[in-house]
Symmetry: C3
Subunit: 320 residues, 3 copies
C-alpha cells in the first residue's frame, strides 16, 4: 500500500499533508492544479474570501525567516477564512530549549488544525507530520535543501497554464541546482508529470554529474542547456555562493549563465521564463528578460496564492 | 464592600478585570471554570468560533516576550471572534520614552476593549486597570513575580477535571516557589477553593520558611513533600537559577527534586502530574514522567485556551 | 486637467490614493472629514465593524518602524473588515537586495488591494503609486520629511470638530517645523481650508525664514507666536535634535518654547492644544497642559481611527 511508504496520503490515498512532491501520484498533482484554477477566479472577484477553512486555526511556524513565503501562506489561509497565527519561533520557547516535538505537542493541544512549517533542517516537516494527531495537517514551506513542494506545484501550474500539455516539453532549470530545494521539487514534479526532457544547467560546482540520478540531463554549457527549451526556470543565486570556492564572482556567473536576451534567443520563440523570486537583477537574470514579454515571474506569484489555497483546502478536507 | 478593596470586581461583585487570583470569591472562580467547560466542546466542534467578542478589539501588550502565552490569548480571542492586535512593545513608543500610562491612554483612545498585559514589573496590570475607561477590561498575563492568574485558573480547571472535588486533596507544588508567579497564583487558588493541604516543596534557597505565611506546608524533603499527594505541580526551573548561589547545578537539582518514576511512586497511585510548561526534560521532570500516563501537561494547554476564552467573555460581559 | 499633475485623483477627480495633502481639492478634504464623522458613531456602537472592505487585502508596508501609526491603520482596516497583512520589511526580501518596485510588484501579484506605506525616503509612496495596477490603492503613512497626510487630516477633523469653521482661525504650529512631515501636512491643509493666519513658531534653527514660502507667518518669539491663537499644534521634539548644533538642550527648549499654563494663557481662552504624539512631557509640553481641559490630544487619536477608515474606504470605492 502506498500509505505505508508515503506519510502524505491516508489509507484511501487522499492527501493529508504536503511534505514533498516526490512520491505524489500524478492524479493528486493535477487535482491540486485543478483546484487552484478554480480559486483563481476567486482572486479576481470583488470579495475574494471563501469559507472553506472558517473556524480553522492555521499556524505559520517559520523556524527560518522568510517574509515572502510566510506572507503567501498567510494570504492564502485568510482567503480561505482561517484564523492565522504567526509564530516568531526564534523568540519562542524553542529558544528556551524546548524541543521541536514538545513545541508541536503544545500547539496541537491548543487545537491547531494546520501547521505550515519552514525549517533549516531537511525532514523537519516529516518529523512533525509523524507526531501530530490525525486531524492536524502539515504543509512543508521549505525544509533545508530538501523540498519546497508548494513552489514546485505553482511552477507546474504556471507551465500547464502556458503550455497546456507536459508530455512534449523541454524544461531547463538553470543555476545553483545542488543547493536548491526549489530545483529538487521542480525536477520531481516534472518527472511525475511526464516531461520528456528536463535539463539541469550550470557550472560543475553547482550542477554535479550525479544529479543525473534524478533523471535530468546535466548541461555545463548554457547554450546547450537552453537550446530549444519550452520553459526556462532560473534559480536565485544565493549571496553566500557568489564568492569563494563555488563561483569566481557574480559577474562571471552572469556572463556565463545569466539569462540575457541573446541567450534566451536560443530557446523556442514561445519559451517562457520563470523564477521563484526574489530575483537578482544582473546576477542570474538580465532586467530586460525579467521584465520582458516571455517572463511569467509575476503570474507565478499570483498562481502561488491559488495553489496554496488549493493545497490547504484539499488536505483539510481529507480528514481521516 | 468588596469592590473597594478589589479592583477586579464592580459594585455588583461582577468580574471586570482579571488581575490576580488573590481576593477572588470562590463562586467567581467556579463561574470561570464552568464557563471554560462550556467552551471545551466548542474546541472540538468543526467550526470553533463563537461570536461573543465579535467587533471587539483585544490588544496583546507584551512588555515581556512570551510567544507561548501570547499565542494562547491570541487563539482564545480569535475563537471569540475578536479583532486581535499584537503590539511589539519593545519597538514601540514606549521605547521612545512614552510612559506606560500614556501608551495605555492612547490605545484606549483607539477604542480598545481589552488589554492582555504581560509586564516584568509586579503590579503593572493593576496600574493600567486603575486608569482605563469603564468599558475597557484588563487581563493580567503575568506580572513580575506577582501573579499569573489565567495559569492559576487553568491549573484549577485541570484539578477539578480529574479530581472533581477540591476539599479532600493534597497538592504539592515543587521547585522554585519563591520566584514563581505561577506558584503564587496556584497557592491562592487552592486556598480559596478549600484544598486542605498545600505543600511547597524545594530547597531552602527556593522555598524559604516564610512561605508558610501563604498557608502552605513547607517541605525541604522531596519524599515528604510528595508522599500521598493527589496532585503534583512541577514548576519550570529558570536557567538563571541553575548555577550560582541558588543551586549547586541542574543535575544536582534533578537528583534531589526532579520528578522521576521512583519519586512519583510515593504519591497516591492516581496522582496527576502538572507543569505550566515549557518543560525542562531531565531538569525538573524525567521524560518518562512527562510523557507518562499520570501526566496531564498537554490537557492543561487545551484547558488553558478554554479558560482564557471564559475569562475574556466574562469580563467583557460585565460592562458596568 | 488636475489628474495630470495630481496622481492621487483619477480622471473624474476622485481620490484613488492618499499621498499628500498638497494639491487636494478642498471638497475632497471635507468629504474625508464628513465620512470620518459618520464612522465615529461606529466606534461607539457595540459591534464596531462595518463590511466596507470585506475580502480586501490591506498590506502595512512599514519600511520605517512605527508601532503606533501601524496600529492605527491596522485597527482602521480591521474595523472595515479587511484582511490585514503586516510586513516586517526590515527582515524581508528587501533586505536580500530586492528593489522597492520588485517588492511592490510581487505583493501586487498576490492581489493586494491597498498598500499603507511608511518610508524614510520622501516620495517613496508616489513611486509606488505610479507603478501599481489600477485597482490597487496607496496610502502614505509618512514619508521622510515630506508628508504625513492622514495625521494632517485628523488634525483638520479635530479643528473642525471643536471650532466648526476654518475661515476665522489663527493656528500656531510650534516646534521643530523644518524636520516635521506633520507640520508640512498641517500647513498645506490649513491653507487649503482657508485658515487666514497660520504661524510657524520656534527657534531659527528649526523654523528658518524661508518657511514663509509655505504661506505661514514665522515667529521666533513664543509669546508672539501663540498670542490670541485659536489652535496650538505642538510638535514632538525628536531626541536627535535635543543636543548638538540645533538646540542648546531640552531644558532650554522647554523654557523658551515648551507649552506651559503661563504661555497657554496668552492664547484665546477657548484655544485647543493639539499634539501628534507621543508627547515628551516637560520637553515640548508641560504635563499640566497635556492633561488639562484645553488639551484635545486623546480625542485626536480617536478621530485618527475614523479618518483612516474614511480614507481607506473612499479610495477603495473609487475604482477606475
Amino acid at each position: 500500500m502506498t500509505s505505508r511508504r508515503n506519510p502524505q496520503l491516508n489509507a484511501h490515498g487522499e492527501l493529508i499533508h504536503l511534505l514533498s512532491i516526490e512520491g505524489l501520484p500524478r492524479a493528486t498533482i493535477h487535482q491540486i492544479l485543478d483546484t487552484a484554477g478554480s480559486f483563481l477566479s476567486v482572486n479576481d472577484r470583488e470579495v475574494k474570501k471563501v469559507p472553506l477553512l472558517r473556524g480553522k486555526s492555521v499556524f505559520n511556524l517559520f523556524f527560518e525567516n522568510s517574509t515572502r513565503t510566510r506572507t503567501t501562506f498567510e494570504i492564502a489561509a485568510k482567503r480561505l477564512s482561517a484564523d492565522v497565527i504567526n509564530l516568531d519561533i526564534a523568540r519562542s520557547s524553542t529558544a528556551k530549549g524546548e524541543s521541536l516535538l514538545d513545541t508541536i505537542a503544545n500547539l496541537s493541544a491548543m487545537h491547531a488544525d494546520m501547521f505550515v512549517v519552514r525549517h533549516a533542517e531537511s525532514g523537519a516537516p516529516y518529523l512533525i507530520a509523524q507526531h501530530v494527531a490525525p486531524h492536524v495537517h502539515v504543509v512543508n514551506a521549505g525544509d533545508g535543501r530538501h523540498a519546497h513542494p508548494t513552489q514546485g506545484l505553482l511552477d507546474m501550474y504556471t507551465i500547464r497554464h502556458y503550455k497546456k500539455d507536459f508530455t512534449g516539453l523541454t524544461v531547463a532549470v538553470v543555476g545553483d541546482i545542488v543547493h536548491s530545494r526549489v530545483a529538487r521539487s521542480d525536477i520531481h514534479a516534472l518527472n511525475i508529470l511526464g516531461v520528456p526532457e528536463v535539463r539541469a544547467v550550470g557550472p560543475k560546482t553547482l550542477v554535479p554529474g550525479d544529479l543525473r540520478e534524478m533523471g535530468v540531463r546535466v548541461c555545463h554549457d548554457m547554450a546547450e542547456g537552453i537550446r530549444d527549451a519550452d520553459v526556462i526556470i532560473m534559480l536565485r543565486l544565493q549571496n553566500e555562493r557568489m564568492s569563494g570556492a563555488m563561483l569566481p564572482s557574480a559577474g562571471e556567473f552572469f556572463k556565463t549563465f545569466g539569462l540575457t536576451p541573446e541567450k534566451l534567443a536560443l530557446a523556442k520563440p514561445d519559451a517562457i521564463v520563470m523564477h521563484p523570486g526574489p530575483i537578482n537583477r544582473g546576477v542570474e537574470i538580465d532586467s530586460v528578460v525579467a521584465d520582458g514579454g516571455q517572463s511569467v515571474i509575476l503570474p507565478q506569484v499570483t498562481f502561488g496564492i491559488a495553489v496554496r489555497m488549493a493545497v490547504m483546502s484539499i488536505i483539510a478536507g481529507n480528514l481521516c
